[in-house]
Subunit: 316 residues, 2 copies
Amino acid sequence: MLALWLEKNQISLRDLPQPKKPNEALIKIRKAGICSTDLELVKGYYPYTGILGHEFVGEVVDAPDKTWVGARVAGEINAVCSACEACLNGRRTHCENRTVLGIVNRDGVFAEYTTLPLDNLHRVPDSVSDEAAVFTEPLAAALEIQQQIQIKPTDRVLLVGAGRLGQLIAQILALTGCDLHVVARHVHQQNLLTARGIRLIAEGEIQPRKWDIVVEATGSSDGFNLARKAIHPRGTLVLKSTYKGEMNVNFSSIVVDEITVIGSRCGPFEPALRLLENGEVDPTVLIAAQYNLSDIVKGFERASQTGMLKVLVETE
Amino acid sequence: MLALWLEKNQISLRDLPQPKKPNEALIKIRKAGICSTDLELVKGYYPYTGILGHEFVGEVVDAPDKTWVGARVAGEINAVCSACEACLNGRRTHCENRTVLGIVNRDGVFAEYTTLPLDNLHRVPDSVSDEAAVFTEPLAAALEIQQQIQIKPTDRVLLVGAGRLGQLIAQILALTGCDLHVVARHVHQQNLLTARGIRLIAEGEIQPRKWDIVVEATGSSDGFNLARKAIHPRGTLVLKSTYKGEMNVNFSSIVVDEITVIGSRCGPFEPALRLLENGEVDPTVLIAAQYNLSDIVKGFERASQTGMLKVLVETE
């Protein structure tokens, strides 16, 4: 089968054998999405060798439990042991023995087929299109914020960054009724937000030390510093993006201002699918381009352009 | 009156006029404590010029409300405006217009007299000695941890650092029934803890990624790194000490592990006085030496020695 292989910071299309794991579902990929993490992996953010890709919607073509065959599914990316202390204490996405789809020791979804344990799969409601369902994983990641902290309707919330993940975060934060403002650098990002009635704020207009909650979704030290300045004492700074290398941070000011900094990663799939099904969020507006798997290297080039939103990959 | 003046990283005893603020209580200092923050201020951690010192027990000798005259008091260190957004939202210790006793624009307590607004004062119960009451402020700071986060009786809690503040934190954390272990470098620190039945742990024995809550009370990057490694994914790292300059931190790992980092500063005085009154904590075991105000410069030298516990200053 055709697949996008990453090795030593190089991606290339390869013809690989179809995967076969007797205890897992075999899934034919229908659509996959290129995420910032994929781009970072290519840059060497984490040493991974294998098939890239973790955002997908697909069809189960074989499974240990045949009732799954034919199901259209999204899949959680962490394959877990269910036996370690993290698993047994409800922190399954932090399983000490996990493999992670297209990220850690598990071939990903930029391929004709992939495999995942049945426990990872979620059936996609019929009314949700492939174009929407392919966003289940990043939408779940956006919802992780509300899984971790309470966002009150009266909270002043600042979102820094309106890229691929930032747009989804903006959509779900707006649903809380909070007083949300978003820093979006690019006009097409701004247009998507204003079309949904989400308010923008220019960097220069951000009142320092005034915001209850700030979500940092740029992954840049500039974004972090902007977020840090905006938060008020005892406020919460949610880190929703990874940062390359180390960052210099003044921790004394975090102590003096009693700031809470919280890292946020993978989130719950079922609520993401519910929001897609009832139409409360619409990720499809983010789609900037679609490439066939055979052209995926061009898709990666496109996705790497500054401010680019979602590039999808289709395998049919 | 005699007072310890800080100016340009130099401390010196001076003869200064007795303070006089018609809207504040005039307090005769009975005892004061030298805190790590005082030592850091001398090193230039924060640009302060004035009388140093913020931990004290004293007697009100004059006040706008005469019912306070003669009262033995401890005093909150943040003098606030009661009108700014922080004050009006219950974050009085973060008042945007605050002065801070012996730290920010307000002369401190290493002197014969100081002044504070009546709102800052708390009456010390008769059964609490001066030697205990002088610890009200740092004990309140230790209690701030439980004001910010829930500590469950089943939590595995690691405290890194057992100095002046660390000892008080250890005593109050032990009261929660949590599974507490303390990293204490110095034998006399260790002895105080074991005398209270508090368990020690050697640095080399700390299981990585296993602790629910880690409290960092060393203020060193070594301590921070030790704490960071100990915490499990989704765990909470409480920063209970200030750090000089900036620190290099890998924020990607904080995102991937979904760690909560929370800065913690001043805490509630009344609970601290209740614990002193009912004898649940005993800070007096920390007293390493007492110096008369006229010898306070020697007291600072003593307090600066590695591993030194509390040096008190008496004005009588």
